[in-house]
């Protein structure tokens, strides 16, 4: 492709990966352009508040360094979400270690939702975030991915390394939990 040529929608992610492997760095730039914002939203939905761009960048660097591990069984975006989620868990474990917390139990349940009160001004929204914080970690992750990211159950199952049926059950339990919290 000549310099300055725009990437078309027909250039799917796989063909861009092949172009990048062939030595075309602009293919990587196009992939970043396509997925960076979604990764940022995914991070914020998962409770990340600081250094979002660094997290997204680390996700891309790690993904491209192990691109051969991507077999195309899921979409590239789902695979990137999987990598980013692991990095988020690593971050939280590191934060816990810095706080000299010995036990790592409930690491995945440690989010910053409880700190959202000052960030979200609107009362209803605050109540909703509190309702989400009351869910189990798995319920919350499934619910957020389904509602805020619009992911299908199959994609959620891939990211969370669970089954599609289990993801569906977690979603319905989550929405029931949110309703109960808000009705109290």
């Amino acid at each position: 492709m000549n310099p300055g040529t725009q990437w078309s929608a027909e250039d799917d992610d796989k063909s861009l990966i092949e172009r990048w492997k062939a030595g075309d760095p602009r293919a990587a730039t196009e992939l970043v352009r396509r997925h960076a914002d979604a990764l940022a939203r995914f991070a914020t939905s998962g409770g990340e508040r600081e250094e979002i761009e660094e997290l997204v960048q680390d996700t891309f660097v790690r993904a491209f360094n192990s691109i051969d591990a991507f077999r195309g069984e899921s979409s590239l975006r789902t695979w990137l979400f999987t990598i980013e989620r692991r990095l988020m868990l690593d971050r939280r474990r590191a934060e816990l270690r810095e706080r000299n917390l010995v036990s790592l139990d409930g690491v995945e349940g440690s989010t910053t939702y409880d700190a959202l009160d000052g960030v979200v001004a609107q009362e209803t929204a605050t109540r909703v975030r509190q309702a989400l914080a009351s869910l189990s970690p798995m319920q919350r992750e499934v619910f957020v991915m389904r509602v805020e990211q619009g992911l299908a159950y199959a994609e959620i199952a891939t990211i969370l390394e669970t089954t599609e049926g289990a993801a569906r059950v977690h979603y319905h339990n989550a929405i029931r939990g949110v309703k109960e919290f808000l009705n109290d």
Partner: protein, 232 residues
């Protein structure tokens, strides 16, 4: 808050909210929501949840892309270095893809080769000694070798009276059974003079230079020399 019993429609509400359904399915869900108070309330709740999601900061695509390594023809992943990022990013992971240092493998090969030479040399010496040792165990093998030479070289005396083996598999056993009486060359090896024994050993040494052959591939000489080596 009650729940709609139509699980399929409830499952589709997040997709409807995010606009990921096709037009037909979208119309179907819209019609259902219009007629179902429970699903309408649940959809509103999902809207609030989605609206309450914290906004993500804008991403600097160029800066992120700049940190991504690029493969080269030689399989190395290097930093592109196409312009300085706005802020100093964490150093990119550089993963050189190349063969591991071969010093250990080369050294191990040399050691293995040396051991093989020493072992082979030692074994050949042992075999050479066995050839010269006139003991019955050695004779078992040598009797077969003697049978392999042409009749002119064979100084064998027709003493082996056992019947010829019916199968090739039985041949080594037949030869071995004749061995205890001594090389199957004569009734009693003790009757040979030193000169005869020396001559036999010299013949054996010369046979060592012949191409090796499996004993099975040779018809054993068990009968009269005049029979041309044919059994029975």
């Amino acid at each position: 808050m009650t729940e709609c019993m139509n699980a399929e429609m409830r499952d589709a509400l997040p997709d409807y909210l995010n606009g990921t359904l096709d037009s037909a399915r979208t119309a179907e869900v819209r019609a259902h929501v219009a007629a179902c108070d429970e699903c309408a309330a649940e959809l509103e709740l999902l809207r609030v949840v989605a609206a309450s999601a914290p906004s993500a900061p804008p991403m600097d695509v160029a800066r992120i892309a700049n940190a991504i390594p690029t493969p080269t023809r030689h399989g190395f992943m290097i930093h592109r270095g196409g312009g300085e990022p706005a802020e100093s990013p964490p150093p990119p992971t550089v993963v050189p893809i190349r063969a591991r240092p071969g010093i250990w493998s080369r050294r191990s090969v040399k050691i293995a080769a040396g051991l093989a030479v020493v072992t082979a040399g030692g074994l050949s010496l042992l075999v050479g000694r066995d050839v010269l040792r006139p003991e019955s165990q050695v004779g078992q093998a040598k009797s077969v070798a003697v049978a392999a030479v042409p009749a002119a070289h064979s100084v064998s005396v027709p003493v082996a009276t056992t019947k010829a083996p019916s199968t090739r598999e039985a041949q080594p056993r037949q030869v071995a059974s004749a061995a205890p009486v001594g090389l199957s060359l004569t009734d009693d090896l003790q009757e040979l003079s030193d000169e005869h024994i020396a001559t036999l050993l010299n013949e054996m040494d010369r046979m060592d230079g012949l191409p090796s052959a499996e004993p099975d591939a040779v018809e054993p000489v068990v009968g009269n020399a005049n029979s041309g080596g044919q059994n029975q």
